[in-house]
Point group: C2
């Protein structure tokens, strides 16, 4: 499993994902699931991947043009005139990879499917955020639901629904995501630390701050512990049911 979230704020975009992959409970590894392409002043694209690792790695390699020699690469994802075109490119690449793998037939338990969040900005337009399905089609985050979750979405959703506010600062958004990830990590073994976070400041058209929260990260632990205490206090403060 995986847990990934992207928020569309007034200030820009915030991405967070865990790094645990698993093939069964007895075979877990750590892999990056967040990738960013930057053409400073022109376009910035970040993707979060959930699903079959062979599929998503293949998609990333194709977008990166890793079939070419390193010196000849110029990822086509960066030359496009709009984020809609970027989402189309990711969707088509994803669909092709799944179709190519499926030709040989399904041998393992897990499907070849994957879901990808695509967010970023192209010069001349606003930042945009898309959720791309394994079929290659996609939806865009709107004003009513300005965030997307992929993977194990349920445990971390209640706090997002309650505390998300598109006017919030990057600092508050990072805190919100840590709380949402903490609830998920406490409940699902297949979502695990370290966590990768990336911020993109609207209009900057350059790579933003990235941060990895390791299992030993003091802020992560302060948030997790502090949230437990705060939640308990909030709960105790609610009036009991009169029975």
């Amino acid at each position: 499993m995986t847990y990934g979230v992207a928020l569309k704020l007034d200030h820009g975009l915030v991405f967070m994902t865990d790094t645990r992959t698993n093939a069964g409970l007895d075979n877990i590894s750590t892999y990056k699931k967040m990738f960013t392409w930057v053409d400073e002043g022109e376009s910035v694209v970040t993707i979060l991947c959930a699903g079959n690792l062979a599929t998503t790695q293949s998609v990333v390699s194709l977008i990166d043009e890793r079939m070419k020699a390193p010196s000849e690469r110029s990822p086509s994802i960066l030359g496009l005139p709009s984020m809609f075109q970027v989402a189309r490119l990711v969707g088509n690449t994803l669909k092709e990879v799944i179709a190519a793998n499926a030709q040989a037939g399904q041998k393992a338990d897990s499907a070849f499917n994957a879901t990808i969040i695509v967010g970023g900005q192209v010069a001349g337009s606003e930042p945009r955020l898309f959720l791309v399905y394994p079929e290659g089609n996609f939806i865009e985050a709107g004003d009513d639901t300005p965030f997307f979750q992929i993977g194990e979405t349920k445990y971390g959703r209640p706090i997002l629904v309650r505390a998300f506010d598109r006017g919030m600062s990057f600092e508050a958004a990072a805190k919100l995501l840590l709380v949402s990830f903490d609830s998920t990590i406490k409940a699902n073994l297949s979502v695990g630390l370290p966590l990768d976070m990336a911020l993109y400041e609207a209009g900057s058209l350059k790579g933003g701050l990235t941060r990895r929260f390791e299992a030993t990260d003091p802020y992560y632990h302060a948030t997790s512990d502090g949230w437990g205490v705060a939640l308990k206090a909030a709960f105790d403060h609610l009036p009991d049911v009169a029975l």
Copy 2:
């Protein structure tokens, strides 16, 4: 879907379940999913059902001995010497109903499966709580995990994990369950009001307080609104991430 929870407290047992059933999104109804049998001074048994409604209603009817004339009924679930035997009876009945329905083959999209929480007390022993699987086998709530959830368990789990305490009062437990149900109802359309709650006081060996929270219940709304505010305040109070 369904959401049902049973807590094993030092003071006794607390059960809560929603009442929404659905066959697709366009066909929803309200049905009781909680049933209690009482033989005062001897034994008290409550069950919560999740899964195929035809299966669970059939199980309840068989336990109720509704194949006999009303005057001849004396539910065998009440004459048993231990809660372990009660759980076995429920498990065997459930397994038989599923097997009988499956004989004719599966025609609809949904499976015949169901999961049942069984809790109660038989004179001479402590209160006990079991989770019965469609295969008829079951597990018992222990000291480390003294509660069970069935149905749509994920959205409401984080607050249970954080705030449950087996020494808590019935009033606090009712509040905890309302918060857990509120998080679930906000996220999954197939879990809906009204909610049924039942309390069983350890050692009482008689039917305890029951309460139905309707959609208009002022306490339910006070809890839901109050929890939103309290959660937001708790979140704002956590230190932001220093970026």
